[in-house]
Symmetry: C2
Subunit: 351 residues, 2 copies
């Protein structure tokens, strides 16, 4: 048995003895249709199991009321919160959301962009990590006047809005907190020193050390190279674990650790416990993101909260503003405050 062919407006029109346009009016509930005709058409629609063809509809209407969101990965609660907030804000305005995942690969980034553009989404929110090829394609898309907003990453283009947390100040505060507690040997786990140009959290860490006259020891900055793209999301825990092991094997290990994110922190905590050391007595630790996990670790993790939902909401608003605007508008940029949440994993050194 062969699959049935698609049922079209004209099929319904023929069956119910009206014009296609009338069926369209019934289906979309606009224009003038008499009660009798409406009933008749609706019956035909039900009988023939008609579904409108969105492609044709959107082609004709020149808009899809759909927005794309490109995420690097799904495993981070950050992505999750962001996606949910974006979805909610869009949903309230009648827009649908399609999410694409690029697994932090430039190739997949591009595939996601192409795919969304091919579906004529009305706009794209990009929350992947920056990479050269992907950025080039994004640039081209932006120049073809498709509304774009980037979240939590760099991208400079006159017609692309930008929202992110203040990762620099967050990293600064986290590190200063550890310094205030009396720590001098403070490690950074999650990225190497060579990534300092792109990683704001690391920059904040360096700035805090600098401001308090602490000389940077590059051996205390450890993590995978930023350019590695083939890492599944959750491996950040592994990076924390392995990074901490490396730090513990140093002749003069750190007394405090600022981890790039909570997962990395959790990994580091495992390594510390495994070495028979106590948190925060032997080693204090601060994470980043305030994932739901943070209150459940032992001890509860001090971390920097970034307003994830708010970023999503603002990104959605920015995009909708661009979508509904007929003329070219100025670039908008919003950097949102982070908040240090002090819990049990960081406490004053008894000196």
């Amino acid at each position: 048995m062969l699959k049935k062919k698609q049922v079209t407006l004209s099929d319904i029109a023929a069956r119910s003895g009206v014009a296609a346009m009338t069926v369209s009016r019934v289906v979309n509930g606009n224009g003038y249709v008499s009660e009798v005709t409406r009933k008749r058409v609706q019956e035909a629609v039900a009988e023939m199991n008609y579904r409108r063809n969105g492609l044709a509809r959107n082609l004709k209407r020149q808009r899809t009321e759909t927005v794309g969101l490109v995420l690097g990965d799904l495993s981070n609660p950050y992505s999750t919160e962001l996606a949910n907030a974006v979805r909610e804000s869009l949903s309230a305005r009648g827009y649908n959301l399609f999410i694409c995942i690029s697994e932090h690969s430039a190739k997949e980034d591009i595939a996601a962009f192409e795919s969304l553009v091919d579906h004529n989404v009305d706009g794209i929110i990009v929350a992947t990590r920056s990479n050269q090829d992907g950025d080039a394609r994004l640039e081209a898309i932006a120049n073809s006047n498709l509304p774009i907003v980037v979240v939590g990453r760099d991208f400079r283009n006159d017609s692309v809005d930008h929202v992110s947390a203040d990762n620099f100040t967050g990293g600064f505060e986290a590190t200063r907190h550890l310094i205030d507690l009396g720590h001098k040997r403070i490690a950074f786990i999650g990225a190497g020193f060579e990534n300092r140009s792109s990683l704001k959290r690391l920059q904040g860490y360096l700035k805090a050390l600098d401001m308090h006259g602490i000389v940077v020891d590059e051996r205390l900055i450890t993590g995978r190279r930023e350019s590695t793209y083939d890492v599944p999301g959750y491996s950040t825990e592994k990076i924390g674990y392995e990074g901490m092991k490396r730090l513990l094997s140093l002749p003069n290990p750190p007394t405090a650790v600022f981890a790039r994110n909570d997962f990395t922190a959790v990994g580091a905590m495992s390594a510390i416990k495994e070495a028979g050391l106590s948190i925060p007595k032997d080693i204090a630790i601060v994470g980043f993101d305030d994932t739901p996990l943070a209150i459940h670790t032992m001890p509860a993790l001090t971390t920097v909260r970034q307003p994830m939902r708010l970023q999503g909401q603002i990104a959605a608003e920015m995009l909708l503003r661009r979508i509904s605007n007929e003329s070219v508008i100025d670039r908008e940029e919003r950097i949102l405050d982070c908040e240090l949440i002090v819990r049990e994993s960081s406490v004053a050194l008894v000196s």
Copy 2:
């Protein structure tokens, strides 16, 4: 300054002095085009920043090479792994993936379906929790011959394939493991007794108790009601925490707990530790899913691993099989084995 209008094939054709069809051939790299013409067209394409209109293209071609995946939420690593596996399998066959999130709401489920159908995806993979209204719509879509595969949930339709983990046996094994260790008072956290008809893991738990002559104590089965849809994903931890508190306040608390999933288990562990009790000495605990978290809890969590990636791969294959098949094909169903991973959170009772 007004936004530019879309550049079309004919614009390029006009500029480069050829027919629209020739431009199409150049853009898609098929058919015969001379080297000279190709160059000329490509220049025009670059100059005018042409992007093909996917809607028109897909409308004409009657396929989109895109598949939709509807997830209940993103917060569960289960969703993440599944999405990634699906994406990879599809990507290898040249298909794109759009992900929609329904936040476990029937309304959003339907919105996601509509939206995907409107974009004429070639097929849909559904991994949301079952609900009446959503299922009704799904039924209608299935009957209009759009290929559909459901993952990890119930749905009976002759043209809808099904893949899931063997949650029943998983729940059974987890519970039997605790029984084998000598436990008699074994609690279930994550759903109430009233959900036993829909929750396979709970059924497995009940079956194991029954087979070993242990009388079910309904007070030991605790969790939120399954019908509650307004719960953000990570709150499962809270459910575990609160459920455990309730259990600990019983006159005769359990000596072992089977948690519906690892997050619930983590929440329960917090409550146990907070009560000053020891895991596994006072209370043993088993989770489900073997999330990456499980090895990082203190003590490491015994849990049931379900083959998440495999489910995604199989779902993708099933769907592609339906998509590429011209005729109606038989329903396929795959139930995949789970594996009990014994770690430190469960150990023999000293009796």
